[in-house]
Symmetry: C2
Subunit: 443 residues, 2 copies
């Protein structure tokens, strides 16, 4: 059973979350397009008992993008490939609701879910990067509109996922009856943004529907997460903040008629561990030294509508930016501005801080193990998504040193007990939207 | 080497091309969603030396759809899964240019191509089924407009596939240089239907770009095929017709400045073979007997805008339909009307004929082997796509009886010699659109 245990997922993001992770000797420099490396990592994660791998995404790059964003596998194709090499680990991937069609996306995730035996998860993003509009020839919707679109979109997709009841496909060779038309349902959606008739041309999987991941941090994002998400990622790096966030999301879920167990909180952490705290800090510095200041400034610009920070003095206080960044990664840009003001940071400090996040999980093996347990026990996390700064060393250390300690203390099983992601995460199978209605009528 | 040899592909379409193939004892009834069955068939096809598997697609179903269309895997996810289970066979799939975004589709095929080591092919369809519009909330473009959209679409996609030159990713850990900005290119497309800046966020594969498949049969379709397609499917069932078609397409290719070797003709055939012609005909009748007349009429309606044929007398001449069917599967509906008139067929005969195609490839092992060689030698085909009526028996017989005969006569190698689809089909690697320009400038 998975109750009382901590779930982990790991992000597959090439050489790592650090912008210059590809320079680190512990990973292949081409990790983001190295299929053997991705297969190996997914298999190791499964063998260690991690609940899922997760592939983030983006739809616009330019010269200033961080290197592994320039050249990487597309999530659905990568996850389908990994599905064939694994049998129990969940397969989560990002697709934007602002730049896709609900019929197509409902189908591709349903297909991944079915061919993996019930292991798919869809991470819903609304796409903050304005440049994306240039690759799709349509105006970039603003923050509020993006969430309005996303809400209608997910409603359509979940409707399509209910197109067929479990026992709709009779396949009686004697009578020639292939399916029961009463168990086929059309979503017949006519909304503000989408018109979709249905039905979807694929059945449900052993876990009913793909799991819904989401990572909204703004108020609209949290509202969306409370209503729809089943696993919520957060970048909050302090335990009190994470606890408040978790309570906020879960209270919201209850207000939407959901149960506390219907939504799991997964802070993203990037542990760097060593035999001593000093050894861990030394590893941290080695990673931070992979970056030069020009790259750091360009990367910072990404959160501020690609603002050119090279124009400022590096060692003067972080510049006043006014409204720049308001319509992009709003929660991140607000945080950066606020921290810079509160701590009186220079531009150089802000830029380097953003390239190499320090956070709460750098320390000795026992310190980090304790920290993880503390977050879990205090309700700041149901599990964690590992967004390793450097995938090689980061996951090597974590699997060798931290997971065994957590297992020893009864907080983790280095073994997946179930074949579907929902079961491994302790999430219920969603009822079929239309079958449920029939039951109510029959009662 | 593959010259002078016949290439084969096989369609993965569940239990088979026959509408009631799921009732045949030689295949699982749920073949279209049975992943183990699909893996097994792809592996067997690879072991036998077939050049590719191919997944057709559709984006709209209703109660009258043929059974395996109701519930099937989505092509890109299925092919990515199969990529992991195979190492040499090509992986072709259908995606519509009328109901998708070029940036997304360019990426997904490039990703499949890269993770499979250079084995992807994109079958371009413009989507004849009008009902599709109901699942995508936009008007269904008419025949001419669909091809106009498709031409601009493929131009954008091929531009995106040239985003990165082969040696663009330097990944020099010492200097910190990840890529050479001079070898990154933007398509910067501003057209009638699409606006796409680029670059694409994934590199080229070992075969350069995915192979372009196409199956247009109308004049606009043939024009499109001549200009862009590298492997062209045709449903023509007589050798003279196929020969004329091949000449027509290849002449067109030359007129577009391409070489005769740049486009390969693949008639779709569904051989049914036996020790004698009688045994083959008996197998044919067993398949035809799987269908009842109500299903046959509903299926026929699919080619005529879902026209209700149940209103007519079954044993009277095929009804006058006027313009019905003009905007859907035009070439098929025209053929059906013409054949009915020429041969004086009743509605019952037309309907049954359409459920179970007879064609030129039913006969004894030697007859069918000879027929295949004749088509190839006379220039009616560079290869064939096997669209088996019943995948189980059909491919069992073909691989056991026909392929060894073809091999014995020097027309086929039961072994793939190369790791990329282009090499196995004898197609050149396309030049990078932008790198080529630089060479001209430098010359």
């Amino acid at each position: 059973m998975t109750h009382n245990k901590i779930n982990f997922g790991i992000m597959l993001h090439g050489a790592g979350g650090h912008m210059n992770s590809w320079r680190h000797p512990s990973v292949p420099a081409d990790a983001s397009v190295n299929i053997a490396y991705n297969v190996d990592l997914a298999k190791r994660a499964e063998a260690e008992g991690l609940a899922f791998v997760f592939v983030a995404d983006g739809l616009y790059i330019n010269e200033k993008s961080i290197p592994h964003f320039l050249n990487r596998f597309e999530p659905l194709t990568l996850l389908s490939f990994l599905a064939a090499h694994t049998s129990k680990i969940g397969l989560g991937g990002t697709v934007s609701t602002s730049y896709s069609d609900p019929f197509t996306v409902a189908r591709q995730f349903a297909s991944l879910d079915l061919l993996s035996g019930g292991r798919a998860a869809w991470n819903i993003v609304t796409t903050p990067l304005e440049g994306t509009a240039k690759n799709y020839g349509r105006p970039h919707p603003d923050h509020t509109l993006r969430y309005e679109i996303a809400s209608e979109y997910i409603d359509v997709v979940k409707g399509l996922w209910s197109s067929w009841e479990e026992d709709a496909f009779v396949r009686n060779r004697e009578t020639g009856q292939f399916f029961d038309p009463k168990k086929m349902h059309r979503v017949n959606h006519h909304g503000k943004f989408f018109t979709v008739e249905g039905p979807l041309n694929i059945q449900r999987s052993p876990q009913g529907e793909p799991v819904i991941f989401q990572a909204g941090a703004s108020e609209s994002g949290i509202h969306f997460a409370s209503k729809y998400a089943e696993a919520v990622f957060t970048h909050i790096q302090d335990i009190e903040g994470a606890k408040n966030y978790a309570k906020h999301v879960k209270d919201g879920a209850v207000a939407h008629g959901r149960s506390l167990n219907d939504v799991k909180i997964f802070p993203g952490i990037n542990p760097i561990v060593g035999r001593t705290k000093d050894e861990a800090e030394e590893k941290f510095r080695a990673i931070r030294n992979l970056v030069n200041i020009e790259d750091a400034l360009a990367y910072l610009g990404r959160y501020f509508d690609h603002h050119d920070f090279a124009q400022y003095d590096l060692d003067k206080p972080f510049p006043e930016l006014g409204d720049i960044g308001k319509n992009s990664f709003r929660s991140t840009s607000d945080r950066i501005k606020q921290e810079a003001k509160e701590k009186g940071l220079t531009l150089r400090e802000v830029a380097l801080n953003e390239t190499t996040q320090h956070g709460d999980f750098i320390g000795s093996y026992d310190e980090v193990t304790n920290r993880i347990i503390e977050w879990f026990d205090k309700g700041a996390a149901d599990g964690f998504i590992l967004t390793m700064q450097v995938s090689g060393q980061g996951f090597d250390d974590f699997s060798t040193e931290i997971l065994p300690r957590l297992e020893e203390r009864g907080y983790f099983d280095r073994k997946l007990h179930h074949n579907t992601l929902r079961e491994n995460l302790g999430l219920a199978i969603p009822s079929n939207r239309y079958a449920e209605k029939q039951q109510i009528v029959a009662a």
